[in-house]
Symmetry: C2
Subunit: 393 residues, 2 copies
């Protein structure tokens, strides 16, 4: 069902929100992940970017039979399409970072709508933001949510902020009460409930006020933390990244490209331990190898999508893998892995939306740290800074 083999099986891709895409056609889920190296050789180390660019994005759009900007490559593509994008050597400009900026924008949408949200305050600290429309649903739970007249301190646009009822003094009480509300609101208002708790904090490492269902976190605008790992191999002085393709039956971002390993940071586990766990589950990497993963920094983004306000911070890791190591997915979340030259991954990111949106940021960070993007590229500092567009705290 590749782009080149016709568009008869192309799915609906016209929405602007990837998270809202629904798939009519699912590929059969591979029972044993197929793993093979990319068929193409590595390009030279530091790239003068070959470019799909706007011209070829338009062409890809045309091939996909679509005219909406966000649909290009956001679903229903094959590894062949991926390799084609990676190998493209169309060149608009040797130093064009435009495609990367587009991917950063994809994670930081609609920030002009921040004024539609009111602060969610606990113990005099802002822990989240709630859309005025969603707030209306909370108003009926008067023993849980209180709407307090705002002072200037929290800068609400509505003259009030949301807080929790003063009777909810412990983290356990708050977790239970908010959890009951989430259940009550149900899938219609908060789709994709996972029964996984995320801690609610004002900043990383600060006291946990309570925990909230993962799928509900963006509706309360609470911060979410995760670990993302770039697994790479070095052969003959060239670097390759292991790229995963998500299962077509995953509820979120099915079929899209992903890191070798990534996961949200649930309540009660450190980044390091979570990474080791995810390495085992997602890619079959034993702790003897994953223990060598190097924490290398963090990226952040803020994204508004209707009533949802994502405020995510991802801790980034690099893991240099032995040449002979072959990842193997253990939890059914990944369809297959391929080893792709970093220069090709860069082209894929610049010219397509094949990667799950936030993975783009973590890989662009990798491209900076490994010298694939250089100060000679116009917009270097602006792109570098944009990788922490969110509240990185």
């Amino acid at each position: 069902m590749g782009i080149s083999s016709g568009i008869t099986t192309i799915c609906c891709c016209s929405g602007t929100s990837i998270s809202k895409l629904h798939f009519h056609h699912h590929l059969p889920r591979a029972s044993i992940p197929s793993i093979s190296p990319s068929p193409s050789p590595a390009l030279q180390g530091r790239i003068k970017f070959s470019s799909f660019s706007s011209r070829s994005v338009a062409a890809a759009r045309h091939r996909l039979g679509s005219t909406t900007a966000s649909s290009v490559g956001s679903c229903c593509f094959t590894w062949d399409d991926v390799f084609r994008a990676g190998e493209s050597n169309e060149t608009d400009s040797a130093s064009d970072l435009g495609g990367f900026f587009d991917r950063v924008k994809l994670c930081n949408r609609n920030l002009e709508k921040l004024n539609e949200f009111m602060p969610f305050v606990i113990a005099n600290q802002i822990v989240g933001y709630v859309h005025f429309g969603f707030a209306d649903h909370l108003r009926k739970f008067r023993d849980v949510f209180i709407f307090q007249k705002d002072t200037k301190a929290f800068g609400s646009n509505f003259g009030c902020h949301v807080t929790l009822h003063s009777s909810l003094t412990t983290a356990e009480d708050r977790t239970r009460a908010v959890g009951d509300v989430v259940k009550c609101l149900g899938e219609e208002l908060i789709p994709g409930i996972r029964n996984e708790l995320y801690p609610v904090v004002s900043s990383f490492g600060s006291p946990i006020f309570f925990s909230v269902e993962r799928a509900a976190a963006p509706y309360f605008g609470t911060k979410a933390y995760g670990v993302h790992m770039n697994g790479y191999v070095e052969k003959d002085g060239q670097k390759y990244l292991w790229v995963g393709k998500r299962s077509e039956v995953k509820p979120t971002y099915p079929g899209m490209l992903d890191h070798l390993v990534a996961g949200g940071l649930p309540h009660g586990i450190s980044c390091e331990k979570n990474l080791v766990k995810e390495c085992e589950e997602e890619a079959g990497i034993p702790s003897s190898i994953s223990g060598r993963a190097v924490p290398v920094g963090a990226i952040s983004y803020m994204d508004i999508d209707g009533h949802r306000f994502k405020r995510d911070v991802m801790f980034c890791y690099d893991l240099k893998l032995p040449e002979g190591f072959i990842p193997r997915n253990e939890d059914g979340e990944v369809e297959s892995f391929k080893l792709v030259p970093v220069t090709h991954v860069a082209n894929i990111i610049r010219s397509t939306e094949f990667f799950k949106a936030n993975c783009n940021l973590v890989i662009i960070d990798f491209l900076f740290r490994h010298g694939y993007i250089t100060p000679e590229n116009i917009g270097y500092l602006k792109l570098l800074q944009s990788l922490r567009s969110g509240d990185c705290s």
Copy 2:
């Protein structure tokens, strides 16, 4: 003249501004740089920081016979003192980043005094900031500097901003006219004139409005760019950094610790070419090796010191050197180089002010990217963000 050998040769160190320190005693300049590896073995890869910390800073202060916060280690120390700080295994807390935060603060002083500066505007863009006291000296040059009534656009605290006379339309005219003023004001008002021109821009890569003498840049609050390179060696899985000790006769920061290679970015040369040039001059690294240096990002800081407002952006590079390579200073600016385990360098930074202030930031960035600072260290994200406290554009 080490700390341990008594304090009779300790120089005056009581000022709060490193750049204003003057040395009464100069060591003889080494005609041939002495080069030797650190005598101590590497600590294990990822550090649970041993710490000099505030307690040992106080002790060092006592040994130095001084009570001012900024004096510790800011001059007159020997390699023995450096090694002692590096090897210290006093431990206050396994995850204390406090010493690193102190070094970041050292580069970002007095920002509450920003309201003492007025914008310096060219072609409707802010290119710098001038202290109202320094502005008074400029007022008499009426054919060069114009004080225009401010609109809200530039947010001046003085109701006006500085600009250049409308007759100065070309970069050449502006460079000459401002250069004449700088000469006229002389060493008393602008000490340390180097006859080196820095481009004046609103952001990196944008059009150059004119060029200004390097020593004068902070008086006009114009941005300055530079390249800083961490040269490291990997032996048996442990990393070592090459550390330079600046010549005692250098006009700026004499005797302090420095990167293997660093330099300001003058007008008309790219980062890459400047780095290759500095590698050759400062450490005798041939282009066949320096060409492998990897650009890895950038740090920024803003520092107010009297009439001076530094707004610096440093492009960071890593260069992995062959084990056998021995740097050799070619321009007399470095007294000697030593190879120091990265874990020891981390201790030196946390517990002393031996390094030239902005080098601390670039090395802390290295510690992040190479996994020596981890998300488990309290304050991880705050410290990471603080490395770009300045306008990084």
